[in-house]
């Protein structure tokens, strides 16, 4: 048995290190470490409740809006306020813009450059992949950055700026859209749709949304130009449909009123109950404690704790690990293509990537509909009163999965604030029952160490980790 440490993992958001125990070049055990701690839950304690709206986006530069939306939802819950119809549409649009920009950034800038590595120089697809996807220098990066920047202009209109907006409020949004701006928003969406249809998919978004099985997907991709078909060809050659599976238990908080909340395992979907969530600190550099529900959670540093190996807590649902993300969202929602991929081969590297890209094809038309439904001249923000005592919960979906905020207010100040981020679920360490986190499970049995292909990089990045959120 030998032990190696892999890191820094770049092209993920934030800091990640993985320790691997190898037997004959195969991974027998993996330990995932988030080596950065910032302690945002403590920063919030003692502040005025609405200060959370200025503080929590700073947890994360890549999903700052998701953090804002979770805080605004938790505050609205405490205030008993409901966003106006325009406010809700604006919030869907702001969140979807961030999430879809994330999917795009992940595919082009974080995930695909690994296939341009010299490790694959003998594969027939390598020359074209290197030309297109080499980090920074590939032809895709030059096209994607302007497309991304232009798409994020939606944020300029809807949220003032990105990242770190204060536009999302408990009652909706501070930014009422005018009739003229509604036209401009539609034009920006059409521009982005055009890029996706031309370069990513090589087909209409609606056609991608209709793909309903693995066979259908592969038949559609066969011989087609476009970056998604190119990925499917590589995935087939490298067997990415069979690697990187965790426990195939999925969880979603539900998103945009389009995808419902729930859990899924072994073919069965169940209603989601937030009361069944606990966080375990057994192997984190945090004070050891019984697993607690986040509404009663604590985050107290214990930097010298023996046997701990990360700053990340271990969230569990009904005592079990669950994977979150676009794949989880789609499986819970009963998406036929993703259900077929998971039931055939498991929740693999390929399934995670397909889920993200199909979500792009499903969401852009939905966003066009939301923009058309905006009613200029009607209110974008409901007003409410902050109670001196109260509590609230905000459950949303970031691009990379389920994000929850739990808040308690006492004497007009934040008394407790606990956060569970998507990557906290996916990259959690072992818990008191020694149950491995999803990534720790997904790496087992893979080749690693000297001379091994960069397979573990594909597995790690397939989860689209955001490490700054993980330990916030």
């Amino acid at each position: 048995m030998s032990r190696i440490v892999v890191g820094p993992f770049n092209r993920v958001e934030g800091d990640l290190e993985v320790s691997l125990e190898l037997e004959a070049g195969r991974i027998q055990a993996a330990y995932v470490n988030s080596p950065l701690f910032r302690g945002f839950e403590q920063i919030l304690v003692g502040r005025a409740p609405l200060d959370a709206l200025a503080i929590v986006p700073r947890i994360c530069g890549i999903c700052s809006v998701a953090q804002s939306a979770a805080a605004a939802t938790a505050l609205a819950d405490a205030m008993g306020v409901t966003p106006t119809p325009n406010g809700l549409l604006a919030r869907h649009l702001i969140q979807a813009t961030e999430n879809m920009a994330d999917h795009l950034t992940h595919f082009y800038l974080f995930f695909m450059p690994d296939f341009a590595r010299p490790d694959y120089v003998d594969r027939p697809w390598h020359p074209a992949t290197a030309e297109r996807f080499t980090a920074i220098k590939g032809s895709a990066a030059a096209e994607v950055l302007p497309a991304r920047a232009s798409f994020l202009r939606l944020m300029g209109f809807l949220a003032g700026r990105w990242p770190h907006t204060l536009a999302i409020q408990p009652g909706g949004s501070t930014r009422a859209i005018t009739a003229g701006e509604r036209i401009r928003l539609l034009a920006l969406l059409r521009e982005f749709r055009s890029f996706l249809e031309r370069r990513l998919f090589g087909d209409a978004l609606e056609r991608i949304g209709q793909l309903a099985s693995k066979a259908d997907l592969l038949a559609w991709a066969d011989g087609r130009a476009g970056d998604f078909p190119a990925f499917l060809k590589i995935a087939g050659d490298l067997g990415l449909e069979r690697i990187g599976c965790a426990d195939d238990r999925f969880l979603s908080h539900g998103a945009y009123g389009l995808f419902p909340a729930g859990t899924w395992q072994q073919g069965k979907t169940e209603a989601f109950a937030a009361a069944r969530i606990t966080e375990d600190t057994e192997r984190a550099w945090l004070l050891a404690d019984q697993p607690r529900h986040p509404a009663a959670g604590e985050t107290i540093v214990a930097a010298d704790k023996a046997d701990a190996y990360t700053w990340c807590k271990a969230p569990r649902y009904a005592g079990q690990t669950h994977e979150v993300g676009a794949l989880a969202r789609q499986v819970v929602a009963g998406n036929p293509l993703l259900l077929d991929l998971v039931q055939r081969d498991g929740g693999s590297v390929m399934a995670r990537v397909v889920a993200r890209l199909q979500e792009l094809a499903l969401l852009i038309p939905a966003m066009e509909g939301w923009v058309q439904a905006l009613q200029p001249g009607e209110s974008f923000c409901a007003q409410g009163v902050m109670p001196d005592e109260g509590s609230g919960v905000g459950l949303v979906e970031a691009a990379r999965g389920s994000l929850g905020h739990w808040l308690t207010i006492r004497r007009g100040r934040i008394e407790r604030y606990q956060i569970i981020a998507p990557t906290t679920w996916n990259f959690s360490p072992r818990d008191a029952t020694n149950q491995e986190g999803p990534l720790e499970k997904a790496l087992l049995g893979l080749a690693a160490g000297d001379g091994a292909p960069p397979t573990i990089q594909h597995v790690v990045r397939s989860f689209d980790p955001c490490m700054v959120c993980t330990v916030h």
């Binding site: 440490v5 890191g7 820094p8 993992f9 770049n10 092209r11 800091d15 470490n33 080596p35 950065l36 701690f37 910032r38 302690g39 945002f40 403590q42 920063i43 304690v45 005025a48 200060d51 709206l53 200025a54 503080i55 700073r58 947890i59 994360c60 530069g61 890549i62 700052s64 800038l109 080499t134 980090a135 920074i136 030059a142 950055l145 302007p146 920047a149 232009s150 994020l152 202009r153 944020m155 300029g156 209109f157 003032g160 700026r161 990105w162 990242p163 770190h164 907006t165 204060l166 536009a167 409020q169 501070t174 930014r175 009422a176 540093v301 930097a303 001249g377 209110s379 923000c381 007003q383």
Partner: protein
């Protein structure tokens, strides 16, 4: 010009903001100005051991580079050990890497307010993270590298402050350095490039007419001036946010929410709720810093009494209700 980028106790938002650089593709614009990344944690291909080898070669002086860009606060805790942020795969504190690399760099850029002054991490009560900026501990000179630090190129740390920083501020600072060089006279007293910190957020504010007449917003989403009630610090914050659009056409004020002065040291703990203006006897404290308070109060009272009904009424709704009048042709029959 070769740029080495590190991320520490921050959110990565300054890199995400940088990728929104417009109008050209960021990578094309930098390449054509002769600027390249030696390594960037979010963008480069090299990972794991390959990346560590690059960093070690730079830190030991074997591999020459020009600019060290650091994003995120320096976390010196717990107890000075730096263990709140260890370099993945290497186990050494980021603070140690930054100190070594700053010693080899010709210039050092602090990317964002966390790196410049310490950020939210330095604002946890009691600062248990022992967080600080590269050359400041909030407003106080010092920080990780010390008040007297000068890089080999002869400049203190260049503080491209902002939370996040605007992509234009980074791209133009890098190009200025590559094409013309940079001198002390290009920076303000807090180390910020004057080309953007020489303005106030107030300049170019689209709510200017409401400000002139002190027609104030009363609640979130109102169109009026956000200074009197909703915590706006645009008249005190050094940045050109309303002259240089964010994300195509936005800014905080255009987005309908207050400037929280994110380019200023210590903005994270203003001593009041972010979205409320603290007042004494009904008069906001923290009025424009370069104007006598009595004059401001007197002028505000005067302008309030002269506010057109259109401006007064539009200030407290979220969309224009009253249009500016169209002048009728005089002297009709």
């Amino acid at each position: 010009m070769k740029v080495l980028w590190l991320q520490s106790g921050g959110c990565g938002g300054c890199t995400q903001s940088l990728l929104c650089s417009e109008p050209r593709s960021l990578f094309d614009e930098l390449r054509d100005a002769g600027i390249e990344f030696v390594w960037h944690p979010a963008l480069s291909q090299a990972s794991g051991g390959e990346a560590l080898a690059v960093l070690e070669a730079c830190a030991s002086g074997e591999l020459a580079f020009d600019v060290l860009c650091v994003e995120g606060a320096m976390l010196r805790g717990p107890n000075g050990s730096g263990r709140f942020h260890l370099m993945a795969g290497n186990g050494r504190p980021l603070t140690e890497w930054v100190t070594r690399l700053a010693g080899q760099a010709k210039w050092v850029f602090a990317i964002g307010s966390c790196t410049a002054y310490g950020g939210f991490s330095a604002n946890t009560p009691g600062n248990p993270l022992e967080a600080c900026g590269l050359q400041y501990d909030e407003q106080t000179p010092g920080g990780l590298l010390g008040a007297g630090f000068r890089s080999a190129g002869g400049l203190p740390v260049v503080n491209i402050a902002g939370c996040p920083t605007h992509p234009g501020w980074i791209v133009e600072s890098l190009q200025k350095l590559a094409l013309e060089g940079m001198a002390d006279s290009d920076l303000d007293e807090l180390g910020r490039p004057l080309f953007y910190a020489g303005e106030l957020v107030h300049h170019g504010c689209p709510r200017n007419e409401y400000y002139e007449f002190k027609a104030s917003a009363e609640k979130q989403s109102d169109l009026g001036c956000l200074m009197e009630n909703l915590g706006c610090k645009g008249t005190q914050a050094h940045a050109d946010c309303n002259l240089r659009a964010w994300n195509g056409s936005g800014s905080c004020l255009r987005g309908g929410f207050a400037c929280i002065a994110c380019t200023e040291p210590g903005f994270e703990s203003p001593g009041h709720a972010f979205q409320e203006t603290p007042k004494v006897a009904g008069i906001p404290i923290g009025l424009p810093s370069d104007m006598p308070k009595a004059w401001f109060v007197a002028l505000a009272a005067l302008s309030k009494s002269a506010t057109p009904k259109r401006v007064r009424d539009n200030a407290v709704v979220d969309h224009l209700v009253f249009r500016p009048a169209i002048k009728k042709k005089g002297g009709g029959k």
